[in-house]
């Protein structure tokens, strides 16, 4: 594949006029966002009573969805940073899309703790801002660690996303006209691809990857500690951090597959880049992380049983066989059973199978967080304090709105910023040389 073809294909995706289907999809996303915003406005006006949250289940759909979206974000960084450090070159074609997914997923996740606040306009109380009255935040609280971890993750992944795109924005600037040229001129900051820029860029990019790698592990560990640091049965476990990180990458990889397959279908010329081999590698990652998640499910039960702690064991029995048995078995089948099909090469290379299983994993991972959060709270130490939680239509509307919000940004990205990483795709091609040309 020549450099020229890569530039042309990337620009074709970027500069061609979107059809009516694109606008129809964006319209649908805006409708979903409208639904979510209306539901949120209703909740602000009437108070948290309009949700299904109660005593004892104070965390429900919002926190579940928060963890779900933070999890989705993780595989983007895995693909862009961790696989970069491992020099896995197959990642080059899909990493921009995965990274965009990370940024928009964190943007979505970040809304939920604020939506969950009874007085969302006081969200800035989570930050250490009150110097004059010296009323500081409690740094011993995992919820504050979360604020720092998620905000750092959002900032760093946005910077990483932008820096990776800088040379490609210059390509877009050099080959576009009109308002787009103005936009890309502004965004590319005058990048020319000269020796000075590339020299510092190479090292800078390496450091970004080196920082993003432990960061991504820390972020979902911190999210897991929101639960594990408490003494609620079913939460207070040392395996939570690695278990959550594996789950996050698992769900994120599934979302990458879910996004790539329709993109390949709509823009057939991208099949040269998002090849079936790339999808197969993603399926292998899904299989591996799915196996780790399945192992964690088993170990959780083993720990509860072997500890001899009756309350812990009762909580786990309730999770599998109690009121929430359906969500539990959805989780088990979607996350631990269905991905096993990827042991077969044929399934790993079958687009319909990949698409369906990736969707099932997305569903399963949402239910995993629901199970962990809701079943433990609804069934802790004192039977008199047990209670049941059911998501209210308001919560479900905001959940639907979050999908609209995520896909709105993602579709906007696809048409506004270079989704194919032009310079990194060129890097994995043989450099054009006269010697090669003559031999060919």
């Amino acid at each position: 594949m020549t450099y020229r073809k890569i530039t042309q294909d990337a620009l074709r995706l970027l500069l061609s006029r979107p059809g009516w289907k694109y606008f129809a999809l964006q319209g649908f996303n805006l409708l979903l966002i409208g639904l979510g915003v209306t539901a949120f406005a209703y909740q602000v006006h009437h108070g948290m009573g309009v949700t299904g949250l109660n005593n004892p289940v104070g965390w429900g759909t919002y926190i579940t969805t928060f963890v779900f979206w933070v999890g989705i974000a993780h595989s983007g960084t895995l693909i862009s940073a961790i696989l970069y450090l491992f020099r896995s070159r197959w990642r080059n074609s899909i990493y921009r899309i995965a990274e965009a997914m990370t940024v928009f997923a964190v943007m979505t996740a970040g809304l939920f703790p604020i939506i969950h606040l009874g007085r969302p306009w006081k969200f800035y109380w989570l930050l250490p801002f009150d110097y004059f009255r010296k009323v500081w935040i409690n740094f011993r609280s995992p919820l504050i660690w979360d604020v720092f971890a998620v905000l750092t993750y959002l900032t760093v992944s946005m910077i990483f996303f932008y820096v990776g795109m800088l040379p490609d924005l210059a390509t877009a600037r050099d080959h576009s006209t009109g308002w787009r040229k103005k936009l890309y001129t502004l965004l590319s900051l005058g990048w020319q691809g000269n020796h000075r820029e590339w020299k510092h860029y190479r090292l800078s990019y390496l450091y970004f990857a080196a920082f993003a790698t432990p960061l991504v592990i820390s972020v979902h560990s911190v999210v897991s500690w929101d639960f594990a640091m408490s003494i609620v049965p079913g939460w207070h476990s040392t395996i939570f951090a690695p278990y959550f990180v594996a789950g996050a990458i698992f769900s994120g990889v599934a979302m990458v597959i879910t996004l790539l397959i329709p993109i390949r279908k709509i823009f057939p010329y991208l099949q040269d880049y998002f090849t079936i081999d790339v999808l197969e590698n993603l399926a292998k990652m899904l299989l591996l992380t799915g196996a780790i998640v399945a192992y964690a499910y088993v170990v959780e039960y083993f720990l509860a049983w072997y500890s001899g702690n009756e309350i812990e064991w009762a909580a786990f029995k309730f999770r599998a066989l109690g009121t929430y048995t359906i969500p539990f078995w959805i989780m088990i089948f979607c996350n631990a059973v269905f991905p096993l099909i990827f042991f077969f090469k044929k399934a790993r290379r079958s687009i319909p199978v990949l698409f369906v299983v990736s969707l099932l994993v997305n569903v399963g991972m949402w239910f995993e967080r629901f199970n962990i959060i809701v079943t433990s709270l609804s069934h802790d130490y004192i039977p008199a304090a047990w209670g049941i939680y059911k998501p209210s239509p308001i919560e479900l509307s905001i959940l639907a709105g979050s999908f609209g919000w995520f896909f709105f940004w993602f579709l906007l990205f696809l048409r506004l910023l270079p989704a194919l990483p032009i310079s990194e795709l060129k890097e994995i091609q043989p450099v054009p040389t006269r010697k090669q040309e003559v031999t060919a």
């Binding site: 450099y3 020229r4 530039t7 250490p128 010296k134 009323v135 500081w136 935040i137 409690n138 740094f139 011993r140 995992p142 660690w145 720092f148 971890a149 750092t152 900032t155 760093v156 910077i159 990483f160 820096v163 040379p167 210059a170 390509t171 600037r173 050099d174 080959h175 001129t185 590319s188 900051l189 005058g190 990048w191 020319q192 691809g193 000269n194 020796h195 000075r196 820029e197 590339w198 020299k199 510092h200 860029y201 190479r202 090292l203 800078s204 450091y207 920082f211 432990p214 960061l215 820390s218 911190v222 310079s423 060129k426 890097e427 450099v431 054009p432 040389t433 006269r434 010697k435 040309e437």
Partner: protein, 166 residues
């Protein structure tokens, strides 16, 4: 002093031109490429990129800020929570790690901008839009009496185009 901007379709050609020009004592002002070419970049700027020190400085600043914030605020309003010491190191490590990464990454970004001299004006005469597509380029300083030598080297190395830049 004049400057020549030569455009090449092949990397081995431009490498040949680069070495010949250097041997002849010409000053190479810039090398352009759509992808990084470490050999030439490191030859033109032999010192390792100081980005590493900037990132280190940023990270250490992040660590110090985090310690100041967590320990300082706990001491400023000493409130025992959950029977834990006022200065509880393990939770503060989390904040310290996050701020190390945050400030280190921001320093990395600013360092990259500073060292690469970004942002800058785009349409300099000594740039060709094809450099971001599939062409390589050399910007050479040529003293008035050596124009022919430079032109000959560039032509022998199969430069596709040679422009005079003011």
């Amino acid at each position: 002093m004049k400057r020549f901007l030569a455009i090449f379709p092949y990397l081995d050609d431009i490498q040949e031109a680069y070495h010949s020009l250097k041997e002849q004592g010409f000053k190479i002002e810039r090398f352009f490429s759509p992808v990084p070419v470490p050999e030439i970049e490191d030859d033109l700027i032999p010192k390792p990129s100081p980005i590493r020190w900037i990132v280190l400085f940023g990270s250490l600043t992040g660590i110090s800020l985090a310690l100041l914030l967590t320990i300082g605020t706990s001491v400023a309003w000493p409130l025992v929570v959950g029977g834990k010491p006022i200065i509880s190191v393990p939770p503060f490590v989390v904040i310290t790690f996050e701020l190390m990464v945050l400030i280190g990454s921001i320093a990395n970004l600013l360092g990259l901008f500073g060292l690469s001299r970004l942002p800058k004006r785009v349409n300099e005469p000594a740039y060709d839009p094809r450099f971001s597509d599939d062409r390589f380029g050399l910007l050479v300083q040529v003293p008035p009496d050596r124009e022919l030598v430079a032109r000959e080297i560039l032509e022998t190395s199969h430069a596709e185009e040679i422009h005079e830049v003011a």
